[in-house]
Amino acid sequence: MKIYIDLSNLMSVDFLTGIQRVVKEIVIRMLENDNNELVLMDYSFRRDSYRRLDNKKFYEYFAHGTGDRKFLSLSESIRFEDIQSGSVFFEIDSVWNSRLRRSYLFPILKQKGVGIVTLVYDIIPITHPQFCHENTVMNFMVYIGANIKYADLIITSAQATIDALNTLTDKLGVERKNCVAIPLGSDFSEKNVSGKSNKPDPEVVEIARKGKYILMVGTVEPRKNHSLVIDALENGLAEMGVNAIFAGRIGWNVEELEDRMKNHSLYGKNLFFIEKPDDVTVDYLYKNALAVAFPTFNEGFGLPVIEAFMRGTPVIASDIKVLHEVAGDFADYFNPNDSDGFAQCVKNLLDENIYKSKKESIKNFKPYTWDESARDMQKAVESVIKKPEFIPDGKSLRQLVCLTARNDDILATLPYIENFMPFIREIVLCCPDKNVDELKEKYRGRLVLKFLTDSEVLAGEPLPDDHSTRNFFLRCHALKNPLIDDVFIMTDDDYRPLKEISPENFIENGCYRAYYCYDLNLWQGTYGSPTSFDVSMKKTLEFLSENGCPTMMYSSHQMQVIDKRIFNDMTEKHPEIVSKGLCDWSAYFNWGVKNHPEIFRPEPYVSMGWPGARSDWDLYVVPEEFLFENHYSVLYEKGRVFEGLSDTFNEKTTEENQVKITRYMAELLKQREGNEVYRSYCNAYWVQHRELPSFTALCTDDSNITISTPTYVQFRNSCWTRVDILIDKSVTEEISRKLILEYWFSDETGENMTPVGRIRIDTDNLEFKLPVKSPVFCERCVFNMKLLAEDKNVSASASMTANII
């Protein structure tokens, strides 16, 4: 199982306290588990991606203290889209202050069916924000919100934190999260001790030997309540010969406390601060302390409590729920607002008999070890990946199901299926009643034709008018028919295999292969005049978003495997969608990825002829190979990509398909080059001008339009490039809703080199991508834009150098 872990904070701190110690102990042990495929990462905002860490070097550095932290990162980048479907993202580090907000990252992971497991140490910034830096509170709110929305499992170290989370989700009116409490370990072993030498700091030893001392370990911050101990020192403890040693680092919001401490009359005599001691020194301090004080107002766990008990040192702790959970009856408790109560606990321990008895009782304390903690966390992480209820198997795949109203098209397609898909035995044709006779008469091939006519499927229900609504309606009804196998291949009448296809192209290693071509969130469609297809995509996006599903577009215009049981589960749970005209492919696959991530494997599509024309839409992914052709007759016409090749099956088809693939791939590669040229231009522009090139229009104060453009643009020659256009709302609100955008290339004398492109601005969609085709033969020309209001005498234009590469 692949587990991704973001260790950005661990990699950035120079001193391990609290959370970083937990991260270190758990990750080291997960690395020791050979069953794990661990991907350790560090986020780089410069690259806007993760950098992979070297597992071996990481282990050596954090487990044995060897090697150099500077060399833990590899050059390999991991983009968010590279995180594999079916894997788990294990959130264990303190990442809420990272620039990579989880509100941004988690939806991307969910798109891919990645499980999310988070170790939530506490939610103190939510319940007690006054104890935290405001920036941390703000960031933590985003972090916890994203986890409540997207995490599949939350691990805490104490039931008290689960209770706090449940209180929060109840207040929010959302379902309680799936949580489990796993105590943290604290066993002391050579593994835990990393320091520059094996001996404690001699200066610290000298301080410790000055007299009995109360130890506080951890960051100095308001919540930890160091001031109570200072109060107790002032009020008599110091006079009794008891010292206080604070070991840790200075945190936030403690300027006053730090001032009080370091300027205190007892500082250096009875009160000491040891900044960032190493593990060996901390271990020494623990072992030789009279007691460890933990007067905190709130805690997620309280590692110092356990660490003290492990060294046989008594603990005086705040009387709060979580510390009772962690320390049980082994600690002495007091009110964290009462320094006298604390002092009394200390005084009790000065009695030799009481102290001896306390130390004896502590021997019975059995904490969790780090091995146990890591083992339980491993199990929790694994639990998120559901064991499949069944394992898909391609052996039983034998049926094709096709929705068709065009006899000529399906008859032309059938020979391809016969010849290239030998495992297919039968095809179920869902068609109008009147089409059946002709098909039976004209088809003479080996496939068994079965029919599900509209009248059989509809059973009296009227057929919707709109094309997309009709198709979805018919499929939803057809899939309830027992004539259709549980697992079958769905196709349209113009999807043709290009070469021999095997069941492994649909089901492999127990997973349904789900071929996507786009992201519905990014789908623009035909700008200004959406087609039935575009409307269907929009409706599908709404449905999927409302139901917390990923939103990839699976309408890849190729054959795909469908599990009828999962499809019907979707329509049974949401019967209202049947007449809404969703995209069946996208609805089904995203539903499958969300509810059965263990048996769906999203991957880029393998279909040629989609898009039919480069101008239709831009590529989201580039197919690495082509297994199917989405047949468009127009592509076989003169001047088009398949000119001269046959579009019906014949003895040369296998050979011609190779030619088709080569030609089409050449076009795609050119398109990809065009995108690369534009992307590299955007990067270069950003370096030069500190912003990405943008084309925007704004209404000025004197009711005119102003267009802002980059100082120059760059395109690949004779290529379609999409440029981002933004028309500010002020233009449509204050000037006109009837806007036309014109664009063309001219030479430097002003003579047009391309026809003038014209689009009407869709006032509901003022931010869009404009497809621009660059001229063929030139190196430098001028790109012109003009925005005009049709009903008013207002317009604006801009021109810029265009470098054509």
Binding site: N139, G145, L698
Partner: protein, 159 residues
């Protein structure tokens, strides 16, 4: 459950907790909501500019573009211009931030900046961009004396 609702609901709950402890947030809810929807390395100026209250815009711009809150000195420095028309104010603030040395180190990619200064069209000298000009001509140009280079540039419209 809508993206916006859960985050703003959490803000309301935590604000209440702050008030119970006798304190309040300095940062506005709007600025916080921008954090929720922010990308790690991209900022959309068109989106930021929707805020027409200059003080709030200042807060948001610093938070998004410099990834930190505006400090007291910054706020005081802008106070004298706080009553400017919002478009003018926004142009000044975004220009000031984007042109700062601190901004260079944030690696933030600004887009849809309609406040960017529009230079009138002229031939722009190509730097580091392949133009497929014959290599021989390029070498000849490089060997020319400065005054002659200037003339060539003028002829080519690159002056």
């Amino acid at each position: 459950m809508e993206n916006k609702n859960i985050y703003s609901d959490i803000f309301a709950i935590v604000s209440e907790n702050m008030r119970s402890a006798g304190t309040e947030f300095e940062e506005s809810e709007e600025c916080y909501m921008l954090r929720c929807s922010s990308e790690p390395s991209g900022v959309d100026i068109a989106k930021l500019s929707k805020q027409t209250d200059n003080r709030k815009f200042l807060e948001n711009a610093y938070s998004q573009l410099l990834k930190r809150n505006a400090d007291v000195n910054t706020i005081n420095a802008w106070e004298s211009r706080i009553d400017l028309p919002y478009r003018e104010f926004q142009k000044l603030v975004t220009g000031s931030i984007i042109n700062s040395a601190e901004f260079t180190n944030t690696h933030v990619r600004v887009r849809n900046n309609f406040y960017t200064e529009n230079k009138p069209y002229r031939s722009v000298a190509l730097s580091g961009v392949s133009t497929a000009i014959p290599e021989k001509l390029v070498r000849m140009y490089r060997r020319m004396p400065a005054p002659l280079k200037k003339t060539v540039k003028k002829i080519m419209g690159m002056g």
